[in-house]
Subunit: 378 residues, 4 copies
């Protein structure tokens, strides 16, 4: 009996969480051959090799595609994407999938969408119809424009896509698989006691059963040049709070080097700081970490999405996620140490319930179901 | 006093007509430095070197960018676009424009949009919000998603963009500069008496003052594999009509080789055919040719756009332009020699008036005016 | 028992003749898995799709790699080679051969050599140690520098390589497989009676049993800009001779368009010319054509190599093959219609014997034997 | 009066030392326009931004070209070179130099040579005719094959090139500009007292007026996979010697990550080690550091070249420089902690005089003189 071949492309560590439960469903299904492509920063140890985590989770990686050109300037985002487009075109022709799945809105994902659509391979886009900041927005909408099918988080997202002239019958409300992981974490809540044992980072080690903050702040592409100043505001606010903090390393975009420089300088100037920096933490461990934290600070979508389901306050800084649909767990602040400091105080007193804005914890299964319903159209 | 630098990218012969009058306005304005980039098939003699026409019209070409990878298969569209993205990223960084203008919906134009938006250079997209077939549609919408400003043809197009969540104040109704050329042609109507003298083609030479058809049929990207069969239907219908015909060579997309093969085979089998084939005709000569023709046959947007203004019947074949907004000059038919033949009869009896659906003949000036109003935002 | 995987890369039509008998030997051997890669101009119908011939000869093509960027300027040779290097790197990693075979001296072959040597895959270079003109020379020597083993044509070639410090035990005198085909042709000599039936060309059809010339003249890369003038000299000399001629279309290098332009212009100006132009002729038919010709004119290495074995006079024009080792069948002339015309007269009276400077007709088998002797070093 | 434009391409930090004095001569000459291109790892802070040093030395950088694809596997060397070839082809066409200068033997330099020679731009290669290990050897010889002129270190190198059939009149014995710097350092000998103040590294700070070792060990491309084991031998030997050491970070080739891992692991296991690690030290400071050191350990060519002139013992490990022409300052050892340890003892008792095998300290001026003598041939 003929299987269908489904290619899933993961280009960054965070994207893996947004697809993992769906990958599990795909892998289990005997009518489907999963072609898992891991690419870009997901392959690089300096951003926490997603590959190791993925393989440890039992997935076979079909292809590994390198395309990131080293250097720190906006024009290299375009060039890396161009190289990715050349490489994805080669691979898709070679492995000849029946459909390709592209995730969300990172700049390089547009290469997946173009390679697929120019070869007339059905393209399924995850997380279309949402709103965030800027270049992510542009990329997400371009991906939606190029895609044939859309697995979206909620009714609001679907409405935005239909407003754009996308046929309603090509849009499926599935929620986000990241919430499936969050649900498991909620059901198996336990403090991340072995954090400092399981992961190697830098900075002081503290008692994780006590109160702590989590920070994850990415450079903002079109605010290139301000990354260092922006990160300093957060560093100072966290420092001033006097609360222990776990700080996660950001994505490999233009600006990362400036963030690194800012952090390095801060650590030298403030040897008494209480921040422990990690390069990478496995998704489910990260969610347990969040679940037991005081709040998350930064501009990661995790604060808006998973933390909404986990009921954890999120202090969202600046423009990157400002426009994203959110529930009541979010406090928006500017790149301003005082605002951030005050929001930390405010988060302390918040009591948040779980919210299913981004999914109910069954997205992986729903995606599989809808995918199979599309089978005859591929 | 500081000028603003405006980059305009032309990637194909037909795109030049859609920008020419705007280019003239840009060139005349002393506050603007025009950086004209000619690229892709616009550089290749086999598609009629747009470069010669452009230079003859008095424009200086700032950069010539080659990126088309030779071969005839869909995966090369992706690869060529990837290479284009690498090249445009280099050039935009080098010439550092204040804004970049990208035209319409050809597959390679997305490379311009990505290169511009990833470098945070304001991007103005022309002809967004329209609808045509398939991959063009996807590319046009992706370009709109990546663009910061939109110069559109009409109110319908603007409405589609605002429905997509694009801010109305970034959308400007300008009409299409191709209509400016059509207007000049209308005002200076004269039969193309020197056609066979001015252009070298193959096939019989006939009396151009008598009745003739014009044919321009492109391969349809996602119907790759059927290009030869499709062109044969048109060839046979035109042959059966017994009317003289001028046939224009198509765009360099996947499928072009099959069209060439179909035409070559037809010519060998039917040495008594009355079709003269041209590789390229200068835009204004082409419009005069259309103005005095019985009708245009094929799937070029010229039939929908310029011919609407010229009041020339257009027999539109197949899916490529089916969904495009059109006025009453258009007869839609399938890839079917009988349908095409009958439509030729029908076109004979049609009497069409000029329609301003795609512009009123002043688009170039309007675009310049709106561009200058945006100056302080660049 | 473990096979060894041998990758052979063919990037142009003429290269196929230079490897065909070796390919046959490789294919027959059960201890070897042949990975045949066809690439570049060998894939393009406009240069005579080598692929069709190769497949008709019973070989399975493992990979087809497109990398030629369309356009006619020297910088694109570098860019196409760069793209080829990206593509070959992908493919070699994927198919993981035990050794890679690269042929001769075309500009794009250096991409094969770099991709192989940078991945530490043993590289066998064919036809090292010879001398021809210019850029070919540079590329051939660079390929020798990058290669681990060398299958050379004769003792002279071996001596040149050892002079360069290449270890004698890595050099094997095998002759050139093209001579194997020439030998078969010699043994089965018959006039190419069905030439005009089997191949479609343009120009007058003549009685092939009568006296005729063969012409094959490539553009010379570093004399870019003079290609049109150069071809005109040859056209006029052939025209003046009044002898029928078969003219083969040249390689896709910078300058090809100028040659085409020169030929087109000549044909228009001289409708009474006696030249028939073919795009491509299958190697063995081409050799029969040569064997029964008066002489070959141009700058193809076939005149120097195969014609030496066939005993056919060769009028070699200009710098391209000037320095190549040759036997007494060769007359060197400049780009000068008078010199060429006189050489045609001279060739008429020459009587040449077969010479084994480039092989004795058993190269394919010898190459296989030496390859297998290297097996344990791979 | 017409100047000549000379492009010099620097792709790595160490290459700058090998050209610096020549650059100074070029810059001073009013008949020459210097087009300085800095590319590849020379742009990356993680390998010590050569750009900062170059600009501090008063040179204007004409172009910065990024092409290194992130990741740690041999196939990416080929791909990065392919991308470099695309980029250099663009830039050379754009800046249109009269001649291009390429340095030595790093893998990516072949892209410079190909881009230049395929555009028929005269190419001058520095340091041809030498011998080192392996892939460097292949690349150096390929560069010589592609070059038109050769500035070599000594008579031995010239002889090797003429043996290869290169015309003697295209070869100029100039010595290596790196020796010019070494001469200045010899003439201005002073201990590097401010080393720990001027450069930020990791590891213990010690009294630099006391005895110390210098280590610089690169991964060896075709011994990929053994880099970690190899570096461990050196680390243990240095550790066992009990002598203070300054350790320089290696080049960005496949294998660098393994070296980093080896070093990290060693530092954790041996917190009492006496090694200070630096990412980058300005060339002249580095030479002062060497001049006052006990010896240099590793596989850098600095040990063979500059240290020969400085009269500093060099313990050369493994295959990388084994075949390089050397004077009596060199002790060859294997990747073996005991051999290395014993060589450290031996070096202690050596007394070495300055040797001019790689130049007499006036290379920059000689190169300028010869370049100007070639002017009319460009």
């Amino acid at each position: 009996m003929a299987n269908i071949k489904i290619s899933v492309v993961i280009t960054a560590r965070p994207s893996y969480s947004r697809i993992k439960s769906f990958l599990k469903s795909l892998k289990k299904d005997h009518g489907i051959e999963l072609q898992l492509i891991v690419a870009g920063s997901a392959l690089l140890s300096k951003y926490g090799s997603a590959t190791e985590v993925i393989e440890k989770d039992g997935f076979d990686i079909t292809e590994k595609i390198h395309f990131l050109i080293e250097g720190n300037q906006p024009s290299l985002m375009g060039k890396s994407t161009g190289l990715a487009l050349i490489e994805f075109s080669t691979i898709f022709k070679k492995i000849n999938p029946d459909a390709i799945i592209v995730i969300a809105d990172r700049y390089e994902t547009i290469a997946v969408s173009i390679a697929a659509s120019y070869q007339n391979i059905p393209l399924i886009h995850l997380q279309g119809g949402e709103i965030s900041g800027n270049i992510d927005n542009k990329v997400r909408n371009a991906n939606s424009s190029l895609a044939d099918y859309h697995f979206v988080s909620n009714q609001v997202a679907k409405k935005r896509l239909t407003n754009r002239g996308i046929e309603p019958e090509t849009i499926f409300i599935t929620g986000c698989p990241s919430i499936d992981i969050a649900k498991e974490v909620l059901l198996n809540s336990k403090p991340p006691l072995s954090l400092f044992h399981d992961y190697t980072g830098v900075g002081p080690i503290f008692d994780i059963t006590e109160s702590y903050l989590v920070v994850l702040q990415h450079p903002v592409t079109n605010e290139y040049g301000e990354a260092k100043t922006q990160i300093e505001q957060t560093l100072e606010a966290v420092y001033k709070s006097g609360i222990n903090a776990v700080w996660l390393w950001p994505n490999p975009d233009a600006g990362t080097d400036q963030i690194s420089a800012g952090i390095r300088h801060f650590r030298e100037m403030n040897p008494d700081n209480k921040i422990h920096f990690f390069k990478n933490i496995e998704p489910s461990d990260f969610l347990q970490l969040l679940l037991h934290s005081k709040c998350i600070i930064g501009n990661s979508s995790v604060g808006i999405r998973e933390c909404s389901f986990l009921g954890v306050p999120a202090i969202n800084i600046g423009s990157r996620q400002k426009l994203r649909d959110h529930s009541i767990n979010v406090i928006h602040v500017d790149y301003d140490k005082n605002e951030i400091y005050e929001a930390i105080q405010q988060a302390d007193s918040m009591k948040i319930n779980s919210n299913s804005l981004y999914g109910n914890g069954h997205s992986g299964e729903m995606m599989l179901k809808y995918l199979k319903s599309l089978k005859q159209k591929f």
